[in-house]
Amino acid sequence: MNKMETALHELSEMDELASRSSPVHKLGPTAKLISTIIYIAAVMSFGKYRLSALIPMLLWPVLLFQLSGIPVRTCFYKLRIVLPLVLAMGLFNPFFDREPMLYLGSAAVSGGVISMLTLMLKGVLCLMASFLLMATTPIDCLCASLRRLHIPKMLVTLLLLTYRYVGVMTEELAVMTEAYSLRAPGQKGIHISAWGSFLGQLLLRSMDRAQELYSSMLLRGYHEHFHYAPMKPFSAADGIYLFGSTALFLFIRFVDITRILGSRFVR
């Protein structure tokens, strides 16, 4: 399998991960969705130097990985394309913010380094949370619960179709890279001179296929209204999950556990 095919294969695997069974999978999508949103909001609201206080937030994704049986490895493997981008966000902070913040032995650590690490950790945490949501909830259930939260129909349908069309695009890309590399042996990737026509072709071909997919929907009676799988009613387990997770997030957010633990042991 070439690189693209692997990527494609992985993408379709998300559907499969989502259709597995575990206590986390069984929870209602709405509870998981809201909990994830609160989690992300809580993570993002930490101050930019509060690295140590942020670390306990790791607890939640770790717990979910354990409960859902989804390997952490899979998560990082699948996110390996976006992860560097997220990590790169804070890369310049150390250059702008050189004030020493704390001393490890005799080495001074500047505010920039701390804020860079904080930002990176925030990025990773948010990615993990989103991944866990996607990996434990089928996309149409997710869309159904977005609709329940009164997100406009247009947006939700768009999300659903994008999710499907991304597959179509990667598939076209796979075919094209293969055809290209067969005629350019020994060349790594696609030469920059061919990018223009390559991208143009890719766009045209994906559009053709997207058009066919859309006709196939129309021909089977689709008209602006998607029939999502029926929603399970909001269960007691959902309530407990949502309440429990929110309480935990708020606790970690407002009580600096690391400092309390630290002051216990280090005097």
Partner: protein, 240 residues
């Protein structure tokens, strides 16, 4: 059931794909639409489904193919696309099959019942919960046919249903097609398959109908076929 009256069509100005095509298909007939690559077979299908508009008149069950009638017409016609990957867009076979019935107002249990009945009939119940990207090309083609049958259409249109299938899967598709009671319009250059499944053949060539008649008459006419860039079906080719 299906009627083309003097239909012409061009994707680009000046390069006509179909010119003055007329034919009529009665209810229950099985018609093979044959012709070389690029003869315009798929174009005929798209015109019929109202995906593109040409000149002339097209009728389905007495309804003219035009914007206002499209929902009703499309409900009567089940279209199996040439590329099954473009046909199936839901995660599992079952959900894909339920897509049309749900759109046509069935409840979920009703739709699922229909899915079960179709799968049972095609002998592929084990595919129900399989993921669309995890099944083989042959299974996918059968699943695509199943999604269309779940619509309970009055006529089934198939665009090259046996293309890119191995002999065994091809045979499975042919057997399924033969058993369908609906009106059938099947495009292909697999003439053996057409011979097996269709009583009548329409031969397209150069944007016109070059021949229209009983299969055993047209498909055995070597001169006619070769003049239109086709060959005798293998099963009829004399062997030394």
């Amino acid at each position: 059931m299906i009627e083309f009256k003097n239909v012409s069509f061009a994707y680009e100005k000046g390069r006509s794909v179909l010119s003055g095509v007329s034919f009529k298909i009665e209810k229950g007939e099985a018609v093979g639409l044959i012709g070389a690559n690029g003869a315009g077979k798929s174009t005929v299908m798209k015109l019929l489904l109202g995906l593109i508009r040409g000149e002339g008149e097209i009728y389905v069950d007495g309804l003219e193919v035009k914007k206002d009638n499209l929902p009703e017409i499309r409900r009567k016609l089940g279209f199996v696309l040439q590329n099954s990957d473009n046909q199936m867009f839901m995660p599992t076979v079952c959900e894909d099959m339920m897509f049309a019935p749900l759109n046509y107002g069935l409840t979920r249990p009703e739709a699922e019942k229909r899915v079960d009945a179709v799968l049972e009939r095609l002998g592929m119940t084990e595919l129900k919960y399989r993921h669309n990207h995890r099944i083989s090309g042959g299974e996918k083609r059968m699943a695509a046919i199943a999604t269309v049958l779940a619509m309970e259409p009055e006529a089934v249109l198939m665009d090259e249903p046996t293309s890119a299938l191995d002999p065994c899967n091809r045979r499975a598709v042919i057997n399924t097609v033969k058993e369908l009671g609906q009106t059938k319009l099947i495009t292909s250059h697999d003439l053996d398959m057409i011979m097996d499944t269709c009583g009548r053949v329409i031969l397209l060539s150069g944007g016109r109908i070059a021949a229209d008649g009983p299969s055993d008459q047209i498909l055995t006419d070597r001169e006619l076929l070769e003049a239109n860039r086709m060959e005798l079906p293998l099963s009829l080719t004399p062997r030394p």
